[in-house]
Every structure is written in structure tokens, then in C-alpha cells.
């Protein structure tokens, strides 16, 4: 009893007490520093959005969305850029999704544990770390010159496919891995073949994760600029690609794929790198729309993830 009192006394006053108080003060200081640094980093994001909004929002109008680029800043618009962005995205998704999903399913469900599988595995991890402009260089030599696809929508779509493929594969594999083995075992026990198991059970079960990965990868593709510049995007296109339909047989045309292309980031880069202030305003307006597009896609990805996480409980 007396001993306890003595200890309590020596802590409640004297040097120990002061040391303890100082340690606590430092602790609070560190906590506040952490909070402030986190806020500072986030406020840069706010500053960026604010700067774009203040500069560009006045330029946003129906006319801006439906006009071609022009020598006169006040008349210039982003029609060819956003149409181009959507078409390039469509092509990218068309090629990258089957390839990425196929690879993920093969590696997770089929691949035997051997050298080749390990090689593919390491290879995908490495591809995810390759700078985007290197994909552009590869596409320039292969698609533009070797396969003679020219500086076209097709080239652009394939270039972005190279870029997003590793991201899609990695995300899809994680989603497939999250499906519990019992589901596969139950399907097999009922006599389903491997492919039936995958098609009817594993893929639908992992759809949430897969969709999230796809959306995030494509939203990355929307903002990519560098690889498309190396394959020769034009920044001044005052026409739309040929329509994909014809008035007579065979009614559909793929000619548009070989038309020259531009996309939103390229248009914005072109305006930023001009000295005239008027074009900087256009750049801000284009940036605002570009930012809205990517943020909307990211939001969609997060929403899909949340929805599926709530719905599926193993």
C-alpha cells in the first residue's frame, strides 16, 4: 500500500512526470503534423481543380463541345478530341478486355505450375512498371511502320491496349483469386467441366472485382498522352472520322479505324504549349472536361466495387 503510494507520488511530480508530459506533447505534435501534411497534399488536389475551374469554366459551352479546333482561341472547340477519345477507348476495350480476361483466367484456373507460367507471371509484373512512353515507342515501330497501320485510331487503340493490359490482368487475377475454392469444388462435384465451372460460377462471382479493374484501367487510358504522342496523334483535326455505317451493302465500314486521330489530352497539351493566354483558357476548359471524365470513371469504379462487396458474402 505504502509502496504503491510512493510510486504514484514519484510519477505525479518530479522529473518523471515532466518527461512523460513532454513525450505526450511530442506525440500530439506528431499527430498534428501528420494531419497537416495529409491535408496539404490533398489541398494541392483542390488547388489544381480550383485553378482549372477558375480559368476554364467560363469557356465551357455547347459551342466549345461542338466545334473543331481553330486558329482563333475563342472559336476553338473539342469536338474531334472527345469523339476521338471515345473511339480510341472503345477500340482499346475491344482488344484489351478479351486478352486481359483470357490471360487472367488462364493463369488463375488453368496454368500448370511450371517454368512457362512463372515466366508469364514475372513478365506481367514487369510490364506494369514500364514507363508509358516506352509503349509508345514500341507501338511506333511495330504498328505504325512494321504493320503499316499508320497514325490511326487502330494504332492508338492498340497502343493503349499494350499499356492497360497488365493492369487489367493483375486486377482480374485478384478478383478470380477472391472466389472461394468451395464454389469450384461444388461445380465440379455436380459434374461441370473446367470451362463450365469458370463460365457459370467463377466469372460471375468475380464480376465485381473484374469490372472495377476494367473501369480503372480504362480511366487511366483516357488520361494517357505520352504514348499517343509518340505514335503520331495530330493536334489539329477539323473533321470527324468516317462514319462506321454505309448506305449500301455491306452497311458497316471499318475505314474510320485508319483515319488520323486526336484525343482530349493531346488537344489540351497543344493548347497549353502555346504562348497565347487565350489558348491557356481553352486548355483549362478541356482539362476540366478531361478531369470530369476520369473522375467520373473512377467514381464509377469505386461504386461498382462497393456495390458488389455488399451483395456478395461468402
Amino acid at each position: 500500500m505504502s509502496l504503491e503510494n510512493a510510486t504514484a507520488k514519484s510519477i505525479s511530480s518530479g522529473p518523471d512526470r515532466r518527461r512523460l508530459a513532454r513525450r505526450k506533447r511530442v506525440d500530439v505534435l506528431v499527430a498534428r503534423t501528420g494531419f497537416v501534411v495529409t491535408l496539404t497534399v490533398l489541398s494541392v488536389l483542390l488547388a489544381l481543380i480550383g485553378q482549372l475551374a477558375v480559368e476554364g469554366v467560363g469557356r465551357l459551352s455547347w459551342q466549345f463541345l461542338t466545334s473543331y479546333p481553330s486558329r482563333l482561341a475563342a472559336q476553338a472547340g473539342i469536338l474531334s478530341a472527345w469523339v476521338g477519345t471515345i473511339l480510341v477507348m472503345l477500340l482499346t476495350a475491344l482488344v484489351a478486355v478479351p486478352l486481359g480476361l483470357g490471360t487472367a483466367v488462364y493463369l488463375e484456373e488453368y496454368a500448370p505450375k511450371n517454368r512457362l507460367t512463372t515466366l508469364i507471371d514475372i513478365n506481367i509484373a514487369n510490364l506494369a512498371g514500364v514507363p508509358s512512353i516506352v509503349y509508345g515507342l514500341t507501338a511506333l515501330a511495330l504498328f505504325v511502320y512494321e504493320f503499316r497501320l499508320g497514325q490511326s485510331f487502330l494504332t492508338a487503340g492498340l497502343t493503349l491496349t499494350l499499356l492497360v493490359l497488365p493492369m487489367i490482368i493483375i486486377a482480374a487475377r485478384e478478383a478470380l483469386r477472391a472466389v472461394p475454392p468451395q464454389i469450384r469444388e461444388a461445380a465440379s462435384a455436380l459434374g461441370a467441366t473446367k470451362w463450365q465451372t469458370v463460365k457459370h460460377h467463377v466469372l460471375p462471382c468475380s464480376m465485381g472485382g473484374i469490372m472495377t479493374g476494367l473501369i480503372l484501367a480504362l480511366s487511366r487510358a483516357v488520361g494517357e498522352t505520352a504514348p499517343l504522342m509518340t505514335v503520331g496523334a495530330l493536334s489539329f483535326i477539323a473533321f470527324l472520322p468516317q462514319p462506321p455505317w454505309l448506305s449500301d451493302v455491306p452497311f458497316i465500314s471499318f475505314q474510320w479505324m485508319l483515319d488520323p486521330f486526336t484525343v482530349m489530352p493531346i488537344q489540351m497539351f497543344n493548347w497549353v504549349s502555346r504562348p497565347q493566354e487565350d489558348f491557356h483558357v481553352n486548355a483549362a476548359a478541356a482539362g476540366l472536361i478531361l478531369l470530369l471524365m476520369t473522375l467520373a470513371m473512377n467514381g464509377l469504379g469505386i461504386a461498382v466495387r462497393a456495390r458488389f462487396r455488399k451483395r456478395i458474402r461468402w
Binding site: 483470357g102 509508345g136 514500341t138 515501330a141 470451362w195 505520352a226 476520369t294
Partner: protein
């Protein structure tokens, strides 16, 4: 095993009741497996494409320019009438912007990671993490705009004689951009530290600050180092910010207040022009790209090794 044993019986039965098997059921399975394997090989083909193209074009380049000149010449003027092919100015530009970026991203990313993993309430963490992820979702061309038209003017307010293009603002913005890469991987590493270690420290009377800095941080160090290395390789490969905000003049300088071109900016600059395919100027971008790929590859490999090692600790 049981499924295998009953299958012949089933087949026999199927034939007995005259169900004409169009194909043996195994055939479709094999086709699917082969198709999936072919898609998996696509990722290997991408790598072969990248390495093949860069090596081949660089090989043609180094037949005309000696490797020694490439590595030691202090001038990079491949498109002048008296060309010099020294990669050093581009490397110095890359190193300086990367260094500035890391000076921002490593302290900020680490503090954010420590704060989120050890101090922040779960609710705050759940709110801040997606917001930080948005930082990496913003298109890089938008960051370029922000660096050129917001950060540089802001810095000129402090240093009035700062040139309009400079490596400082480009590096700063890249730094902010890679904070989420650094912080999320470091946070994962710190979360992986077993709770028992923290509880031990708290039981000995340590404050949160002492626990996080002297127990958690050192335990997660290799994982955190992997995050840093990932940040380095991102910063080296970043293109649009430097192409817009740091200028495109290759100068051998180590002063971040000066304009300079990085390897990525040079590739973009050349792609904007109209260089004839197969000329020496065209090949310089592949030699530059190969250098870039090798540099990032070293860092990616180091990050991979570090992450593997820290996984084995617990």
C-alpha cells in the same frame, strides 16, 4: 477422382440412348484452354516486342554512334547540322527532376502513411484514402498545366528570376503526384507489422510516436523502401509534366532552377516533329527509350526484391 471414374459409364449410357455426340465433350474444353493460353502468351509477345524493337533500333543507332560518345559526350544535339549524341544532358535533367520529386514525395508520403496507419481514426482513413487515390487518377497532362500555370508563377513569387520553364516546379508536381504510390505501399507494409509488436511497445509505456517511429517503421522498413523505389521508377518515367513545365532544351545542369529536358521530354519533342522513319534522328528516340527502360527496370527489380524480402519476415 470420382468424376474421372464415372465418366466412361456416363458416356456408354449416352451412346446407348443414341444422343449423337457432335464432338467429344473434351474437345471444346481443349479448345478453350488453348485459346486462353494463347491470350496469356500475348503478354509475353508484348515484352518481346518492347525489348526487340528497342534493342534493334538502338543497335542500328550504335552502329553509327559509338557507345562511348553516347555515354560521355556532354552535348545532346542530334538534330543540329553538327550533331552530338551525348545522353548525359538528358540523364541530368531526369535525375534532377526525379530528385526534386522524391524530396517532396518521400517525406510527405511517409508522414501520410505513418499518420494513416498509426494515428488516424478508421473513419478518417476511409475518407482520406480514396481522396489520395484521386491524385494518381488525375491525367498527367493536367498536372503539366498545373505546374506551368500555377506552381511556376507561385514559385516566381518567391524567386522572381525563376525562368518560366524550370525543373523545380515540374519535380514538385511529380512529387505530389507520386505521394499516393509511396503512401499506400508504405501503409500496407506498416499494417502488415503484427499487432503484438505494437502492443508490446504500448505495454512498456511507449507513446504512439515512439511506437510508430521506433517499432513499426523499422519493422516495415523493407516494404517502405520498396514503396520509395516504386516512386523513383514512376518519377523517372513521367513524361507530360516535364514536357510541359521543364522545357525541352537539353542542358547539362544540376540546378533545379534551370530549364532542362529529360529523356521522356526529348522523346515527346521528337515525336511532335516529322522525322523520317529510319533516319539517325528517328533512332535516337529508341536509344533514349532503351536507356530509360534500363533505368526503370533496375528500380523495378530492386523494388521487387525488397518486397519479396519483407514478406518473408513474418
Amino acid at each position: 477422382m470420382d468424376a474421372e471414374a464415372t465418366k466412361p459409364d456416363l458416356l456408354k449410357h449416352a451412346q446407348a440412348i443414341h444422343v449423337p455426340p457432335v464432338f467429344p465433350p473434351r474437345f471444346k474444353e481443349k479448345v478453350v484452354e488453348w485459346l486462353l493460353m494463347i491470350t496469356a502468351l500475348a503478354s509475353v509477345a508484348v515484352t518481346v516486342g518492347i525489348v526487340g524493337v528497342l534493342s534493334y533500333e538502338s543497335f542500328l543507332f550504335f552502329r553509327q554512334v559509338s557507345v562511348l560518345d553516347f555515354l560521355t559526350d556532354s552535348q545532346w544535339t542530334p538534330l543540329f547540322s553538327e550533331p552530338h549524341y551525348g545522353i548525359l544532358p538528358l540523364v541530368s535533367g531526369t535525375v534532377v527532376t526525379t530528385a526534386v520529386a522524391l524530396l517532396v514525395a518521400i517525406p510527405a508520403g511517409t508522414v501520410v502513411a505513418v499518420y494513416l496507419s498509426e494515428y488516424a481514426s478508421p473513419a478518417l482513413r476511409e475518407a482520406v484514402k480514396p481522396a489520395l487515390e484521386l491524385l494518381s487518377a488525375v491525367p498527367t497532362v493536367v498536372y503539366g498545366y498545373f505546374a506551368l500555370l500555377f506552381v511556376t508563377p507561385a514559385l516566381q513569387w518567391i524567386w522572381p528570376d525563376l525562368p518560366g520553364f524550370n525543373m523545380l516546379s515540374a519535380g514538385f508536381v511529380i512529387g505530389i503526384m507520386i505521394v499516393p504510390y509511396v503512401s499506400s505501399v508504405s501503409e500496407d507494409a506498416m499494417r502488415a507489422v503484427p499487432l503484438a509488436l505494437r502492443e508490446g511497445a504500448y505495454a512498456l509505456g511507449a507513446t504512439r510516436m515512439q511506437t510508430s517511429l521506433r517499432v513499426v517503421f523499422p519493422s516495415a522498413l523493407s516494404g517502405i523502401a520498396a514503396a520509395y523505389v516504386l516512386g523513383v521508377s514512376r518519377a523517372i518515367g513521367e513524361t507530360m509534366v516535364v514536357a510541359i513545365a521543364a522545357g525541352m532544351q537539353p542542358t547539362l545542369t544540376w540546378n533545379p532552377l534551370e530549364p532542362a529536358a529529360t529523356m521522356t521530354a526529348y522523346i515527346v519533342q521528337v515525336s511532335l516533329g516529322d522525322l523520317p522513319h529510319g533516319s539517325i534522328g528517328y533512332r535516337t528516340i529508341f536509344a533514349t527509350g532503351l536507356t530509360l527502360l534500363l533505368m526503370t527496370f533496375i528500380f523495378n527489380l530492386a523494388g521487387h526484391v525488397l518486397r519479396k524480402r519483407y514478406r518473408q519476415v513474418y
